[in-house]
Symmetry: none
DNA sequence: CTCTAATCGAGACGGTACGTCGCGTCTTACG
DNA sequence: CGTAAGACGCGACGTACCGTCTCGATTAGAG
């Protein structure tokens, strides 16, 4: 992927993260943009081949064709780079997860969620089933909890805190499993159905 | 804990792991036993304070009051040491998880599971909520899948593979959450009830 | 000194060094002159505080309030900048050193030398006792040798090559020591006397 | 020199310098001795080819066939390594320099000094005329001043402080120049004579 | 009650990755 | 054109752990 002439457009959704310390200032230099992009693609490419925590920053740079020291002009750590790639994706997904409750029907909500994932299948497959799975699930859960803190709990027999954990975990695991299957083996509707049945009868069931 | 005169008896359940290369020969020397024990305690002690992957072997040795090189006479890697501590515990837990299906009632099965965890609260709390959480969950899931492969699926709307994942994950997350609470806030029965309600209405529900 | 409104006039004697590659073209732009001057002052200012070889080009630029890249439009290296500052000074001093031999008396020659140094006390003190001492002495000796090569030796018991080295070194060390003392502790005449006595009885003594 | 089967015995005179931080403890391990020796030889070998300050620690390690990180188990900086090599040599030389004053005659004292240098010609030639010349002269002067601080001044017209500087400098420069000549061009006696004549008529002359 | 072998502590070593810094070149945009 | 701003490739810096190793000291446990 490193030398790809057709850079993955999904990467563009992740904003350049500028703002604090070592991040770029305001996308001026064309070289900086190219380096940042190359680093993103390189990490994704490596994640398809080995676990995140045994990918070194030097690996990423070699894959990206970028000098080692240059990495730090874009990100503080490799976790930072992963965040850059993942944060916006997770955010959008969590928006959808939350929207399920207000959807016309739960079923429709789940379907929207699954459809979104399906549209970004390659990226999400890499993120969840590639080498960064554990980190992604943690980040997912973290964001879910932040978001769930402001909404009212659903039922009383299940402590809301635990409910959030279980719901987020179930959705994440199901989608991860789904993306691990060959494309087309399970349709969007099938997965949405499974999620609906699993969650609506228990976690989000009323008392 | 490093200089404790009252070694945690739960650690003894984990066999000394000897057998292959660098492990000791046959539990002969009393010094070797002492070193091995000290290492186990040291790792658990450190896990209460920081994540597993930023604990170094040197940290463990310092905590255990054991020379660095001596570590390798007991374990090949720190992951090996963690396994030594955790494997048998997870095995027993998985036996209980599996036994739920054949229990007099599901409820009774869940209760046995929770009771077991409760008896080993400190150890399990460290393992699941200490710094090795991610590794433990992965190991748990791995063992669950190995075990589930030989038993018949329960219902047809949920692919058995996914069922295993979700069941194992839900149980693990619920227990981890429970152990994170102050002792006594939720009784063994309460958690067993929650698990029963969550799982029996969905994952292990018949068609 | 960095923000001084009264730039040291002595710096002006050093020509802007243009001629080869990266140097400026022909003193056209007023900004270029200002930058060049600021760089000179900045280096001298820094030399009062730390050794030459742990002053970085970036230090100089920061001190001068000049952009890093701009440095290279004036000098190739920081050694080049030091040369710009020092060369003409050393040249004049060496002329005087040489003139001693043709002076009315040796004593008068030494006195002229010391008087010249005294007039430029601050600059010379920085150059010799600041962070660039070693480099300055080397440059001094180099120029002395170039100059001495064309004049006849004085006495036969002392190899002329060695005579040059010793004379140049003695003068340089004596002046450096003198400038390290509080101003006024030793008069121009006292130092000239010392130099005269040291050199005339040995190095420049006839057979 | 790096692969020499006949390691320079003069290097052994420099004690292993242990005492403070990263230095070795008490010459236990044979490997440590070998590494230390290799580093010394490597630096000397490199000093014959290029100036000290453009020799990198990596150069030294490569030349010595020693891993980069190992360097720091022996010395804190490359200056430290140079000191290790030079300190004892300079010390001995300064002892001789000092002994000149108490020698049967000055002439005899100078002769002892020159003879000593001549015996260690290669080493001293490298130290003074190799890439570390400036550093060596500074160290020489520093030690001379420390030593001279405790002895009575000789004459009154020359400030004792300056006398020390000039004497040390003259001796150092003369020897450096001598060692730069082909061996045999000037005899030990000839140089001793020059030193005697230069110094006894001026710096160490009585009032 | 020795004596021999396992175990240990101490730490040197080659390695790999870390994150930082300064270099000199270059691109970009401004005045 | 001269600057400010700063990205970039480069390569040395010094540090931290890794796992292997050589060394003695000591201390079992078998003879």
């Amino acid at each position: 992927m490193s030398g790809s002439t057709k850079p993955n457009p999904e990467l563009r959704v992740a904003a350049p993260h500028r703002g604090q310390g070592p991040a770029s200032s305001s996308s001026k230099d064309a070289r900086a943009v190219r380096s940042g992009l190359a680093l993103r693609e390189a990490l994704l490419s490596l994640l398809e081949r080995k676990p995140f925590d045994q990918i070194t920053i030097r690996d990423i740079c070699a894959e990206a064709g970028v000098h080692y020291a240059t990495f730090f002009r874009h990100h503080q750590t490799k976790e930072g780079l992963l965040d850059d790639i993942a944060r916006s994706q997770i955010e959008q997904l969590n928006q959808l997860t939350l929207a399920i409750r207000e959807a016309a029907s739960f079923e429709a909500g789940f379907q929207a969620l699954c459809a979104y994932v399906s549209e970004h299948r390659v990226l999400w497959s890499t993120l969840l089933n590639g080498g960064a799975g554990a980190a992604m699930r943690e980040e997912w859960l973290r964001q879910s909890q932040k978001v769930a803190a402001v909404v009212a709990p659903i039922n009383s027999w299940l402590p809301p805190e635990l409910g959030t954990i279980c719901a987020a975990t179930l959705i994440a695991e199901t989608i991860a499993w789904w993306l691990g299957k060959p494309e087309g083996e399970y349709s969007v509707e099938a997965i949405a159905g499974i999620l609906h049945r699993m969650l609506s009868t228990s976690i989000i069931a009323p008392d």
